[in-house]
Symmetry: C2
Subunit: 343 residues, 2 copies
DNA sequence: TCGATTTCTGAAATCGATTACATTTTATAA
DNA sequence: TTATAAAATGTAATCGATTTCAGAAATCGA
């Protein structure tokens, strides 16, 4: 039993396919009220629903957004995808989802082609910028003709980007520790081939410099975002510089690792050692002590990206152009016990 | 500049569209080697890629799976989607993703129709079974003609289902507490209109009954999966029955809330009170004390579902039928400090 | 060398919509 | 009552592939 088609409806309503199509298109496209009703009735009786596929083929639009994502097992990316879906849904788009396992994708072309061969109206590239994995962005020849927006990547003049201000996040986190009276503030960064990690590190650096606090070489340890790397990171920091009294861990997982290690080596948090993370993962306040952190609204980031992309798509359909733009979201300091005020 | 089409390739190669199509279809479809090469060459030069949309229209296949999901902000569902995508990708499918905000969706038809109008080859319904939100399953008239598999729902004779054995999970968690010497074991359940929550509760109940431990009415508190509800849950349990020395919280978030509350009211965990959660969320071992829990491999669940669905699709294409089946995955006990052995 | 196969290729129909263009019907003005 | 413009509908081409059917070319056995 195959789907009912527009031809079936036309037959039942006693009109041509064109008329059915016009009725369904809405708009006051020169349709007599009486005819409209006959068609509607037939549509209802047959439970007709147009084939989106056929429609896409003809119109070269699909009301679909292609999403290329990474790291869905983690909190941030999940929220981003969720936000993307929410906004897309509200705007009438469906998502074509592709997740990549290796952030250093080299089959970019293949991916873009696949989505375009499905006539997606736009693409959201939600893969963190790591090493040179976004280099293709600078090769104009490789730009797809479909609108595309990049998430969590370094803003580029000619591209649409939506990102959180990681630099400012690092700045704020570190300033908070400073305000709490920390004198020797260590840093556990994410992998430094991540753009976001570097930004947070810059923030930390500038915060220290601006108030003239010490910043020795060994104050920085590079983690890999995992909790265990946070543990190791803290161990290293403390072994090199026992005077360290504050640590900015560049994500909550590493912060939590540091928390555990601090407990293990008998440093009281926050009395001896203030710790702040980054992300504000779910239930961050239930770690012990409750984790201070930088909240970034990844759901909103996803929504923003889709909203922007929607504008670009619409503009394009009207033959207009949107000027490329970077939408930047500010993170927010969340103070909890792990960094709270010593005198 | 529009895409290059099969007609372009045909022209350049000096053959008919049919021939191009045959070459691209692979198989040894009666193509002379010389012709094949001419076509391949043209394909290469033009950078031709067939339109998946046109292809779907004609063939009524799309190499796409529709996914209806829920709760992507949470760990379990995220992993499930990730697993689905992994396996789908390996099997050559792309995903059409739709997330629902209200698990009591009433626009089931609309959703199914939308996916079918895109000729998805199969559908994965990954929405938890809550209240009567799966009642439509029992109405044969509403079954879509496309293969569909349900995740985390109660197995039904005529449907494909993939789920974790929550009953056994509850049983194992509780037995573990018993083995640790707990005599009065309370339960913080998830919302009892969730099928999964009820299953875990049954497991708890049967575990207690099978060894003749007490199971008073007030040993059960209903939470809502959130950490704060775990806090409240524990408060209630202890106020009613101070003798409680073990608690099975039906997810990690509530367990973590209980952990915090226990600390707050001065009950030592695990010495005075053993606590076990459910899910094994990321970094569960970094709570304090490290959280014992039931691990369920949601990634694998997603993969399993896709694998099964793939079989069903293939069978259908060959005119065969797969017998409906429930794929059940076993959870695994993960013992950490929060429930460890007192003598 | 010729007819019978087998291999190879092309023409045209098809999938299910949209839309440009043509045509008919209705309304309006002269 | 016409001529004419506007409204309503239909015809047929189109989107970009696949596939049936039929015809052409190559192969083969006698």
């Amino acid at each position: 039993m195959s789907r009912t088609t527009i031809a079936d409806v036309a037959r039942v309503a006693g009109v041509s396919k064109a008329t059915v199509s016009r009725v369904l298109a809405g708009q006051s496209n020169y349709i007599r009220e009486e005819t409209r009703q006959r068609v509607q009735k037939a549509v209802g009786e047959l439970g007709y629903r147009p084939s989106d596929t056929a429609r896409s083929l003809k119109s070269k639009r699909s009301c679909t957004l292609g999403v290329v994502g990474y790291g869905l097992e983690f909190y941030g990316p999940s929220c981003t995808i969720s936000g993307i879906e929410q906004e897309a849904s509200e705007l009438g788009y469906t998502l074509l989802l592709h997740l990549i396992r290796q952030p250093e994708t080299n089959n970019v072309e293949e991916l873009l082609e696949r989505m375009q061969s499905r006539y997606v109206d736009g693409i959201i590239w939600a893969v963190p910028e790591i090493g040179g994995n976004h280099a293709w962005l600078d090769d104009k020849k490789r730009w797809p003709s479909v609108p595309i927006i990049f998430l969590s990547t370094e803003p580029r003049p000619d591209r649409f980007v939506a990102a959180v201000d990681n630099y400012n996040g690092g700045l704020m986190a570190t300033r908070h520790l400073i305000a709490q009276g920390c004198q020797h503030i260590g840093l556990i960064t994410g992998p430094l081939d991540w753009w976001e990690a570097r930004q947070r590190k810059f923030g930390w650096k500038d915060a220290l410099e601006s108030v003239g606090l010490p910043r020795k070489e060994g104050y920085v340890v590079e983690g890999n975002w995992s909790a265990i790397s946070g543990e190791h990171g803290l161990t290293q920091l403390l072994s090199r510089y026992p005077e360290i009294d504050g640590v900015f861990a560049c994500n909550d997982r590493m912060a939590v690792g540091a928390l555990k290690m601090a407990r293990q080596v008998g440093r009281r948090v926050p009395e001896d050692l203030a710790i702040i993370g980054y992300d504000d993962v779910q239930d961050a306040e239930y770690f012990f002590p409750a984790l201070s952190t930088m909240r970034q609204d990844m759901v909103e980031l996803g929504r923003l990206a889709v909203r922007k992309l929607g504008q670009v798509i619409e503009a394009k359909q009207n033959g207009a152009t949107c000027p490329p733009e970077a939408v930047i979201l500010q993170p927010e300091l969340v103070v909890r016990a792990s960094s709270l005020l010593r005198k």
